[in-house]
Amino acid sequence: MAWRIGVDSGGTFTDVCLFDEDSGKVEIWKVSSTPDDPSRGITTGVVEGLDQVGKTAKDLSLLGHGTTVATNALIELRGVKTGLIVSDGFRDLLEIGRQKRPNLYDMMAEKPEQLVSRDLRREVPERMKYDGSVDVPLDVDALRAELQLLAGEDIKSLAVCFLYGFLNTEHEELAKRVIAEELPDVFVSTSHDVAPEFREFERLSTTVVNAYLGPVMQRYIRRLKENLDEIGLEIAPQLTQSNGGVIGFDTAANLPVRTVLSGPSTGVVAAQAIGKMSGFDNIITFDVGGTSSDVALLQNGVCQLTGEADVHGYPIKAPMLDIHTVGAGGGSIANVDTGGLLKVGPRSAGAHPGPVCYGLGSTEPTVTDANIVLQTLNPVEILGGRMKVRRDLAVESVQRLADSLGLGVMEAAQGIISVVTANMAKAIRVISVQRGHDPRDYALMAFGGAGPLHAARLARELDMGKVIVPLTPGTLCALGLLLTDLRADFAISRLLPLDDSARDAIESGFADLVGQAEAWLDNEGIAEDRRVLTRTADMRYMGQNYELSVAVPAGPITAETFRQLEEGFEAAHRQRFGFIAEGEQIQLVTLRLEAAGVVNKAEFKPQPEEGPDASAAQIATRDVWMAEAGDFVPAGVYAREKLRPGNVIEGPAIVEQMDTTTVILPDMTGTVDPYLNLILEVKA
């Protein structure tokens, strides 16, 4: 009788997705978020959601939670007062970074705010050499003196990052023990715990961000746990990370940096599961919100992990799904610049006052306004009738833009869509063509409030043949929480030639990682038969500095393993760069181990076909502007909840549902699959 619940807490709404393990039924519930204390909104959402299905917290077998607490604390600089201990001579590395200025041409651009002020960045005598041997031993007395000074400054958190800390952890571990004696109440992050990888600045930045956010995350989790205990939750809740997996609350509290990009990751996980059940292995996800679009590529059902990203100016090294974000969404503002070209975004009207058509005082047209003018969006009311819109105001604002472009109002509105589509296409090129993938081999999965509205045009721009619109596009992240495994990634940097001489080092490196992974799995209470460990190695040609990840086959490391690694590396290099350097030495750089605790996931049951006739779902006919016709053309308007498996809709058509609107272009058809996904295809 158990139910599972996924709770995705965003800035405006908290989405709740419930799944009945027995019937396979999925229920969605939405409540307003409570930004001052998100745990209240979450608890309310859980209670109300369970009410809908007549259950209580005791009936839950799983609670997965996606949160932007860490992300928002970083963006809004609401972390704690943090100190830093570094190798002598390097306290300013945090500020100098890679010495590039923030913008090549704009001299007024600012560097990100320093998370540790210069007087709290303290140096201690200590130095390792490049091979991990000790050049200068850690001066413990000097360290104690610095800690006393920081104690006087009342810091709440402390980061420790020494040069080569990823290679020889001795000094950082010793420092950690001394800190525990001197500053027992302070949150501590050491670089070898947080990001044990090569390149000191990125490791330092990650460690500092983790320390800065640690106490914020701890506080949040403590409060949430109390609230959930109060409503009678008996199971251990789980939290999403940037790698698309979930971890227990304790791990999350110690490594908040692993959650800063978790927001869009569960949407990708849901897309992966939906693609799999509907028979699509190669997918590009397209998640469009009010201010931005997130895109990711899934090859053979798998989204690659990336090791590093820039989060609001702070480089972060953590395993995360390779999701690319561009400032193009429904609220993106259109304007004509001094050179007379139409630009859309990255400026956004946000939720307040929002687009012009909301009638709350905005005058600059947005992408949403263009859609209202074109009548692709319902020109009277949106959000399933919850919100009235003013098309007249939208037309006025687009007219002003049209006048300065010398175009008609409809051409200008269509122009806004074309330009924002081009921006979205640029983002998809980054994750596809730039990584050696042809988008034509992929289906586009559109979700988020505005994804299905733009997906057909985007697919056409990129010559993609199919678009998948899942049943609940607006709450896919919450759904994804029900579909993900427990997952943690472990890594160790070891520079080794890819040949037999490295065999022992690889074996012992992986043995270390397996030890760490097993300890984590024990801690999470995962049974032996539910554990999956996957090994990969990051490699490059000796002399290069960027690595490609290659799977390491199971079993002992043998001559055959080396052969497979070499083949895998060459294939990856050829795909990415178009050539291989024959005869060059290949080098191993980082060994990685992904540990998964497989949980029972929501499984969807196919429903029987009910034939192609969709007329029962048609609720209206509306004139919609189609660029192809250069005119308004009558388009059938369908209610998503009335569509049945097997139904076929001929374009031009519009499918409306509470959380999104789908546009089907004139030369396309939309077919409802047995899982109620809507599949758009170009007519044969």
Binding site: G89, F90, R91, D92, L93, E95, I96, G97, R98, Q99, K100, R101, N103, L104, Y105, D106, M107, M108, E110, K111, S117, R118, D119, Y130, D135, L163, Y164, F198, R199, E200, D337, T338, G339, G340, L341, L342, L405, L407, G415, S418, V419, A422, N423, A425, K426, R429, V430, V433, Q434, E461, L495, Y541, G543, Q544, N545, Y546, R576, F577, G578, A581
Partner: protein, 545 residues
């Protein structure tokens, strides 16, 4: 050719194709960096990628190193001049580096250019340049001492490598293994560009892509003209000192910027060219002028040939700012940085409140080279940032590159792994920022220890002349060199002994506004953070510690 003479293309299509072109050059840049081997490219990203139109005009440039625009400007015209266009075929790859034969602005920048044919028609050129850190420890009396001079020549002919040429090139390089690998990365970047551009033409039709390319240049021109028209007509003068540790005397450089309607003339003046590697060829001067004007007037103008149309740039032929054969040019970035200071200084008079004070004004470069146990040569070049100038409403940025360069540093953990050097300190320098209501950015000190005997040189500037402030803001601290001995002449290559410690301090940025206007809180914070000394707090800001 003016914007009005051409067939109109709708502004939406222009923007859509413009996005695609930008994707292409950015993809080229990433491929080049990621596939390369030398630290100068793979970590420091000292390379640039671009598309040129079929006439040889800059169409689109990735945001890497502004100076490299100079490396690109001459190459396609030089190819067109030297070769019969009828004889240029798909798969031809031209290689060039010579400053006087249309190559780059100095010999280490090697340009590869490949024509892109679609349906037999030349539609564009794929071009990239990478700074090969080679040709080290040579002379700079004239360009013949500075390395191998390469005019535009075919490295590949219809896809087939000219191995004889490559062998000759490699034999002239000190680190041939890096060179061949970096060339391979450059080739791969251009191959991608050819493929993507061909796809684009197939999707939209070649005519439309070409028309969009023209329209994008017209667009940049219109934006530039709009920005110039907003400046009051008149002539704005500025002069500055250019000094270098590589040259005994400081030189006076000048500019007169004359604005007439929507056009701008930048007339530079400087002393005769010198027998040292400090001279600028004209394309370097152009790159410096274009960059600076764009950064002040409208940073969003596309960096294509259109932006140059309303600008005229002059300097006396044979002067240090417009040198003639056979002047040496290796360290041309130093004087180019002063050119940016000149333009900022003059435009500050034209647009008060819109221009920042002088930045560190250098591209401080350190070059180490030596011999491995197996007899191979290693060369390591790095450049060090300093302070940025204070802005009219914000402090300057600390520890950044300014002006025409923007290379990354090399991680210490990569530096020490690859070369027999140890970095002892890397820090911001107290009291190096120019004082003011908004203070400049802080300069950087980098202290190295040679672990083995090697050769070493530094190119620095603003040793004597210091970065200026604006509107009452003070001068920044200048460059300071210390080679661990008692020398006072820091020119040329020197021998470092094992264990010898050298220290390079780069200048800060000038201040903006009278220091008395700085808030007490800001002074107190600078004091607490050790950015200024108690003495500076007292004397400059009247605050007692």
């Amino acid at each position: 050719m003016s914007a009005q003479d051409k067939k109109p293309i709708d502004p939406i299509t222009v923007e859509v194709i413009g996005s695609a072109l930008q994707s292409i050059v950015e993809e080229m840049g990433e491929a080049l960096v990621r596939a390369s081997y030398s630290t100068n490219i793979k970590e420091r990203r000292d390379c640039s990628t671009a598309l040129f139109d079929h006439r040889g005009n800059t169409l689109c440039q990735a945001e890497h190193i502004p100076m490299h625009l100079g490396s690109f400007l001459g190459v396609i015209p030089a190819i067109r001049e030297r070769f019969d266009m009828e004889d240029i075929k798909a798969g031809d790859v031209f290689m060039a580096n010579d400053a006087y034969a249309g190559g780059a602005t100095h010999l280490p920048d090697i340009v590869l250019a490949e024509p892109i044919f679609v349906g037999g028609q030349l539609v564009a050129w794929a071009v990239n340049t990478a700074h090969h850190s080679d040709f080290a420890d040579r002379g700079h009396q004239h360009i013949y001492q500075e390395g191998l001079r390469i005019p535009p020549v075919r490295l590949y002919r219809e896809g087939v490598l000219n191995n004889d040429l490559q062998e000759m090139f490699l034999l002239n390089c000190q680190v041939p293994r890096e060179r061949i690998s970096d060339l391979r990365a450059q080739m791969s970047a251009n191959r991608l560009c050819v493929q993507r551009m061909t796809d684009l033409c197939e999707k939209y039709g070649t005519e439309k892509v070409l028309a969009a390319g023209d329209a994008l240049q017209d667009y940049a021109e219109r934006k530039m003209r709009a920005a110039i028209a907003a400046i009051p007509d008149g002539t704005y003068r500025f002069e500055d000192q250019f000094d270098s540790n590589q040259w005994p005397d400081a030189m006076t450089l000048k500019v007169d910027i004359t604005v007439t309607g929507d056009e701008m003339l930048l007339a530079f003046d400087g002393p005769p060219q010198v027998r040292g590697g400090l001279n600028l060829i004209y394309t370097s001067l152009l790159a410096a002028a274009y960059f600076t004007v764009k950064s002040v007037l409208d940073p969003s103008v596309l960096p294509n040939a259109g932006l140059a149309r309303p600008l005229s740039v002059t300097a006396p032929k044979g002067s240090i700012l417009n040198c003639a054969h056979p002047a040496a040019v290796e360290g041309r970035i130093a004087a180019s940085q002063r050119v940016t200071d000149l333009v900022y200084g003059a435009l500050a008079k034209a647009l008060p409140g819109k221009v920042m004070a002088a930045g560190n004004g250098c591209c401080t470069g350190a070059t180490f080279n030596g011999t491995d146990e197996d007899g191979g040569i290693w060369v390591y070049l790095e450049t060090i940032g300093g302070g940025g100038g204070a802005r009219p409403s914000a402090d300057g940025l600390s520890g950044i590159h300014v002006g025409l360069t923007n290379t990354s540093n090399l991680p210490v953990e990569a530096l020490e792994l690859e070369y027999p050097l140890t970095l002892l300190r890397y820090e911001l320098v107290q009291d190096s920022a120019g004082q003011g209501e908004y203070r400049g950015g802080m300069g950087v000190r980098r202290v190295y220890r040679a672990e083995k005997a090697c050769r070493f040189t530094v190119e620095s500037s603003r040793v004597a002349s210091r970065p200026w402030g604006l509107e009452g803001g003070g001068k920044a601290g200048g460059a300071i060199l210390d080679f661990g001995d008692d020398r006072t002449d820091f020119s040329g290559m020197v021998d470092l002994k094992p264990g010898q410690i050298v220290s390079i301090t780069t200048p800060g940025g000038g201040g903006y506004g009278d220091p008395s206007g700085r808030t007490k809180d800001a002074v107190a914070r600078d004091l607490a953070e050790g950015r200024i000394s108690p003495e500076a707090a007292r004397t400059a800001y009247g605050v007692e510690a």
